[in-house]
């Protein structure tokens, strides 16, 4: 038995898991409808794919949500997992699922996939015959991903950095790298049977004044960690920054550098996609304003040339959205995309050059780390502050970098900490900002800059 298979047996040896029949699962993936694979949809649907967010605890409610989405002409269905499952606490998830089923009140903030099991979930997924994207936030997602693929979910979001630094205070980062290595291998293995399984990184990170160079570096590194294990279809992503120009520049640089670095490790045969998240920061309470913001995000995603857009709802500021509100955004976004024609081509060469240089400065510092494998180099780089994510709650994050918005609302670095962007780039960043302010007014600016979309 291979080491991977041995690890598999250990993971599945868990009282909350139904009996895995690997031969049957393999057969299912081999013969699964191509429509279920987002990698296939990227190739054949000549449009930006629209994907909402959403997950309910019970099978019936999730089924009803999917029905609403399909009626609204959705391209990709989401399956958001509850927070107990994300922490591998299947016992609590099971109890809360039962309470949700018996009382008609949702006791979970998502779908407890492991407890439902793959046999049940597969029925729903094959019924709708749309690609499904797994949204979670799990550092140890090994069992979850086995269950997802067996269910017919052929897009897996996340990664060791992007699912840890924004969400956890002290889950060990080195463990997360190893658990995700397993996920990449499983995805790579299943990719050989039919269309490839798509992996997607979570670019928004903390969605709080994260400068594009940090977002892009982390996207590229998670992409490389995935491709080196044999994944053949990967999506890099980022969320609306607050400046249309900065979004367009970020989109151009991330696309260019994803191709460049994939080629560097001889993985140019993999297909790389770009995903854009509608505004991920604090939303306006006013639901009509929220719709305006969502619509503007869709326009920017078109300017960026994203392959997929992930939507928000008019109820974002008030909690988990109803299925009606959620489906409404899908229909509205599809409408905006259909009428949005003849977009101008915009490029800001100066900004692109600066951002490209910043990303390459940080990437070379990561590659120059003395560790023997890429994941260890990345681990060391996060630990020593080469990579620094503003507002990460994790104890390993360096927290020295400070960013603010310039007068055009671009996110700029005014303190670089140990992030090795060159003096020239740092000077460029600072030249856009008013540096005469004292810390008290900078703190007030930061509070304002975080909440720019609120009224």
């Amino acid at each position: 038995m291979s080491l991977l298979q041995e690890e598999r047996e250990i993971i599945l040896n868990n009282e909350y898991v139904d009996n895995f029949d690997f031969a049957e699962v393999e057969d299912f993936v081999k013969n699964a409808s191509k429509d279920l694979f987002i990698s296939h949809n990227f190739k054949t649907k000549n449009k930006m794919l629209v994907q909402p967010r959403g997950g309910f605890p019970t099978y019936d409610k999730q089924y009803a949500l999917n029905e609403f989405f399909v009626k609204a002409n959705v391209d990709v269905l989401p399956l958001t997992i509850d927070s107990n499952t994300r922490l591998n606490d299947y016992a609590t998830a099971k109890k809360m699922l039962r309470l949700s089923e018996e009382n008609e009140i949702d006791m979970l903030n998502g779908y407890p996939l492991v407890n439902h099991g793959y046999r049940t979930t597969r029925k729903m997924i094959t019924h709708f015959n749309k690609p499904v994207s797994l949204r979670h936030g799990t550092p140890d997602a090994r069992l979850l991903i086995e269950t997802a693929i067996a269910s017919g979910i052929f897009e897996i979001e996340g990664g060791p950095i992007t699912y840890l630094l924004p969400y956890s205070k002290n889950f060990p980062l080195d463990k997360a790298f190893l658990y995700w290595k397993y996920v990449e291998r499983v995805c790579a293995n299943y990719s050989k049977l039919n269309e490839p399984i798509n992996r997607e990184s979570f670019g928004p990170l903390t969605a709080t004044l994260v400068p594009p160079c940090i977002t892009i570096v982390i996207q590229l590194l998670e992409m490389l960690l995935s491709l080196e294990e044999g994944v053949k279809s990967f999506s890099v992503s980022f969320s609306q920054t607050g400046s249309m120009n900065q979004d367009i520049v970020t989109g151009a640089v991330i696309r260019k550098l994803a191709d460049y670095y994939a080629k560097e490790i001889n993985c140019e045969d993999a297909s790389i996609h770009l995903v854009y998240h509608q505004w991920m920061g604090a939303f306006p309470q006013n639901k009509d304003f929220a719709e305006q913001l969502i619509n503007m995000s869709t326009v920017i995603a078109s300017m960026v040339g994203a392959d997929k857009i992930i939507t928000k709802t008019r109820e974002e500021a008030s909690g988990i959205p109803t299925k009606e509100a959620n489906a409404k955004t899908v229909a509205n976004t599809q409408y905006t995309l259909r009428i949005l024609n003849g977009l101008p081509k915009i490029a800001d060469e100066e900004e692109e050059e600066n951002l490209t240089q910043e990303v390459m400065d940080i990437m070379s510092a990561v590659f120059n780390d003395s560790a023997d494998t890429l994941w260890r180099k990345v681990f060391n780089s996060i630990k020593n502050g080469t990579i620094d994510v503003p507002f990460s709650p994790h104890i390993i994050n360096n927290n020295e970098m400070i960013t603010v918005r310039d007068k055009n609302k671009n996110i700029r670095i005014i303190k670089r900490g140990k992030v090795p962007i060159s003096d020239k780039c740092f000077k460029y960043e600072k030249s856009k900002c008013d540096l005469t302010k004292d810390t008290t007014s900078i703190v007030n600016d930061i509070i304002h800059d975080i909440g720019i979309m609120q009224w």
């Binding site: 969400y167 709650p393 930061i446």
Partner: protein, 136 residues
């Protein structure tokens, strides 16, 4: 002067915590920031370990109410080591809505010298500075 700070309980809201850290540093304090998701015992141990003058606990999701009832009980376990430490708390101190006129004395009873419910960060820190200079 040394300050230990952090967010109490299972609260993971990190933004204000960073801004408190920055603002304290700008005012010349030496800051030991325990970050989000910190339990009372961890705060107390850090105060002892760093020999801090001030413990500044914050809360955003309102968990403070549940946790801070234990402050005096825990204080007594540390005997007189914490006698000269100024206890301050700020943020959203209760779940849902509450009246500052009730909340402030309640938290003073829990063992805090300075209590700020939904008060602007700099107003709170100005009050801290004033309190510290009067204490001398």
């Amino acid at each position: 002067m040394k300050v230990v700070t952090g967010v109490v309980g299972n609260d993971i809201h990190v933004v204000a915590n960073r801004l408190i850290d920055l603002s304290l540093q700008a005012r010349g304090y030496e800051v030991f920031n325990l970050g989000v998701n910190t339990y009372l015992e961890e705060f107390f141990d850090a105060v002892v370990e760093t020999n801090a003058d001030i413990l500044l606990i914050s809360s955003l999701n309102g968990e403070a109410e549940g946790w801070c009832r234990e402050v005096n009980i825990l204080k007594s376990k540390y005997k007189n080591i914490l006698d000269n430490v100024v206890f301050m708390i700020g943020g959203n101190l209760v779940v849902g809505t509450g009246d500052s006129n009730d909340i402030v004395p309640r938290f003073q009873n829990y063992g805090f010298d300075l209590v700020f419910h939904q008060v602007d960060l700099n107003t709170g820190l100005d009050a801290l500075e004033k309190y510290m200079s009067e204490k001398k």
